[in-house]
């Protein structure tokens, strides 16, 4: 069944979609001569290396893990020899330990990797263990370990799986392409997750402007009981967990709460795909779909091995179109700006967006004219203009009073500000002040 009525949320903004690569099918990006696999590709504590320099590793082999606290293992994305274990520049601008592997070009698969056709007989606990061992984390960007999402506290109960296919960031198209090219894997992943979470109902939230998605999903929706499609308005941040849940269920996650407080499990479509890959081929999470778009010669979608440097993707896309002014991991609304093209792609990175010099928004700030555009745009119903002012003054009490911690950093306020005030920057600064005061 398809919900024809398009769902959405209050507030938000409409940046031009710029889905330049929407009709470009995935191509496999040849694995580079060397991959650097960061040990921190998720929320929680970083993994610790399980291999030593000089050791031979195989593709899909677990090379890092951490059993203390919330964490997720990492896997070799090529076969070869560990050249070095040390700090590299990572996507969020911090240094992070990575295992650098010299690719032997053989792609020799780790012998422990086998498909899991038995998943229908396995217990939810067993499947959850498989998901953990495969290092599957939220691939929409947040990187929250998926197995932890499935471990619901005893006083909560899940009743709905929500597949996040909103892909609301401009430029990015890899989730759209997955819907079209890996429909079967996605449906399989949904069924697996429904079994683990013990829910009878799943909704696939896809943006109404995603061409071909309804046709691709239709045969499966007709066949599968309890899997339905919900069409979402093309608006930002439709893919933010809270707004997605609101759009589909009409309920608001309590402030400071989590989706499971409403009995909802939200999983990104790329993550669902990774679960599908796990049961059909046994592959752990060491590759993903990545969009390369913006000011590049050929905006494209690639299937990329984790640890591949951004430079390899840019090269594959024909290089820059003009002189680049900013390279962003993710999309332009919430993505991470990069200072180096050597930064490796992780499980969390869904795109590389390039802006030509002179086209990057920012700067030219003038005084606030109190137009209220930030207030109208804020999906969390905060007053960004006052939050920015209090962050500038460093008034902790006022920052709390204006609910700074309810800000999810969607950047809608800064996007809509005619005075070009870097509002998100002030929010972050304010949050730093709150942390420091604690």
């Amino acid at each position: 069944m398809v919900h024809i009525q398009t769902r959405s949320f209050r507030g938000g903004v409409h940046p031009p979609a710029q889905k330049l690569s929407a009709s470009v099918p995935f191509r496999d990006l040849p694995p580079p001569d060397e991959v650097s696999i960061p040990l921190r590709q998720h929320i929680g504590v970083p993994a610790e290396p399980l291999v030593k320099v000089g050791e031979t590793v195989r593709m899909g082999q677990k090379i890092g893990d951490n059993l203390r606290g919330l964490s997720a293992p990492v896997h070799a994305s090529v076969s070869g020899r560990v050249r070095v274990i040390g700090d590299v520049d990572t996507a969020d601008g911090r240094k992070g330990t990575a295992i650098t592997i010299t690719n032997d070009g053989q792609d020799t698969l780790d012998e422990t990797i086998t498909p899991h056709p038995e998943w229908e007989q396995a217990t939810p606990e067993e499947i959850r263990g498989l998901i953990r061992e495969s290092g599957i984390v939220g691939m929409g960007g947040a990187g929250f370990p998926t197995h932890a999402k499935l471990q619901v506290p005893p006083d909560k109960k899940l009743n709905l799986l929500l597949v996040n296919g909103a892909e609301c960031e401009p430029y990015l198209t890899c989730d759209h392409r997955l819907f079209l090219e890996a429909t079967e894997l996605i449906i399989l992943g949904i069924k697996v997750l429904m079994r683990v979470a013990a829910v009878e109902q799943a909704y696939i939230g896809a943006k109404v402007t995603m061409e071909g998605v309804q046709d691709a999903l239709w045969p499966f929706l007709e066949k599968e009981k309890g899997i339905d499609l919900v069409l979402l308005e093309s608006k930002f941040p439709q893919g933010e967990e809270r707004q997605l849940i609101y759009a589909v269920t009409g309920k608001e996650i309590p402030s400071g709460g989590l989706p499971w407080d409403l009995g909802v499990l939200v999983v990104n479509v790329s993550t669902v795909w990774a679960v599908g890959m796990l049961v059909t081929s046994g592959y752990p999470s060491f590759q993903r779909g990545v969009t390369v778009s913006g000011a590049v010669q050929q905006p494209s979608n690639y299937m990329v091995r984790v640890g591949t440097p951004i430079s390899a993707l840019l090269e594959a896309a024909g290089g820059f179109a003009g002189e680049p002014g900013a390279i962003i991991l993710g999309g332009p609304m919430t993505g991470l700006p990069q200072s180096s093209t050597l930064v490796p792609i992780t499980k969390q990175n869904n795109g590389v967006t390039v802006f030509a010099k002179g086209t990057v928004a920012g700067g030219g700030t003038t005084d606030c004219i109190r137009c209220g555009r930030c207030v109208a745009a804020c999906p969390y119903r905060l007053l960004p203009l006052y939050l920015a002012k209090e962050a500038e003054r460093g008034d902790i009490e006022q920052l709390n009073k204006f609910n700074l911690l309810d800000c999810r950093e969607c950047a809608c306020c800064a996007y809509s500000c005619p005075a070009h005030i870097p509002l998100l920057h002030w929010m972050r600064l304010g949050k730093g002040q709150l942390r420091a005061a604690r």
């Binding site: 402030s255 200072s339 209220g372 109208a376 950047a411 998100l424």
Partner: protein, 320 residues
Amino acid sequence: MSNLQLRIQSPPFVHSGHSTQRIMLMVVVALLPAVGASCFYFGTPAIIHIVATIVTAVLCEALVQLLMNRPVTVRDCSAVITGLLLAMNLPPAAPYWLGPAGAIIAITIVKQVFGGLGQNFVNPALAARALMLASWPSQMVAFVAPFDAISTATPLVAIVNSDPMVVHPTLLQLFLGEVPGCLGEVSALALMVGGLFLIFTDIIDYRIPTGILGTIFLLSSLFAGPGFSFGFSLTFGVYQLLSGGAMLAAFFMATDYVTSPVTPKGRWIYAIAIGFITVLIRFWGRYAEGVSFAILFMNIATPLIERATTPIKFGEVKAK
């Protein structure tokens, strides 16, 4: 790949394209029909008033900022609007120094002394107008009939004085603007065209003009009896809407961002209160015209309204 100069900043990397300057220019564009109407009805004096007031406002802003050793921000065009709105509030037969004098008051005392754009707590043009009414009362009521220079009272004054000799203008004359009044307030048609343009281009919030005009219309329709006693007349409601500064104020003065609430609910309260006070002053106050004082009152109340209407945040657990 080396030697790349890459921007590192907090997102976003794209922007809506709005800018303060663009917004101000849109407001100027939206006022052009009213400027045209004013030149059409009142001729050369209208042009002289408008140009003199705008030029003074802009020069005064630059000068004050230079003297205060602050960056000169006349390029944001906000002084142009202050000057233009002030000129719109002048009676056609006023002496030519009156507009520039008002502009100096508006820019210096009301705006820059408080810290410039965004810091003033009342609308500069309106505060200056109030001061001018107090300082130069006779010059501020130098009204003339359109197309000739015969001095006359405005329709609202005529109603309050219930002068039997006065021939009241028809609704059509009020709508088109063929009535005595301030330069920019006479043509409801021209003001509505500009106002709707601002609403549909998302420059102003429909709530403010809707709240003000709706309240004025409703209350006037209900108090249409003799001496503003209880009595129902839709015609009188429309008459009140079309006369005086209601249209100019509702679309262009009350919608000033700086001095109106930023919260959606607050804007309704602000607007309805302006409409209410306007009718109060028009019907039972000493002045025939009340909308500018109503706005000034509510400008001052804006911080209170905002505090009372701060939206309930997303996911707020309601108190039991």
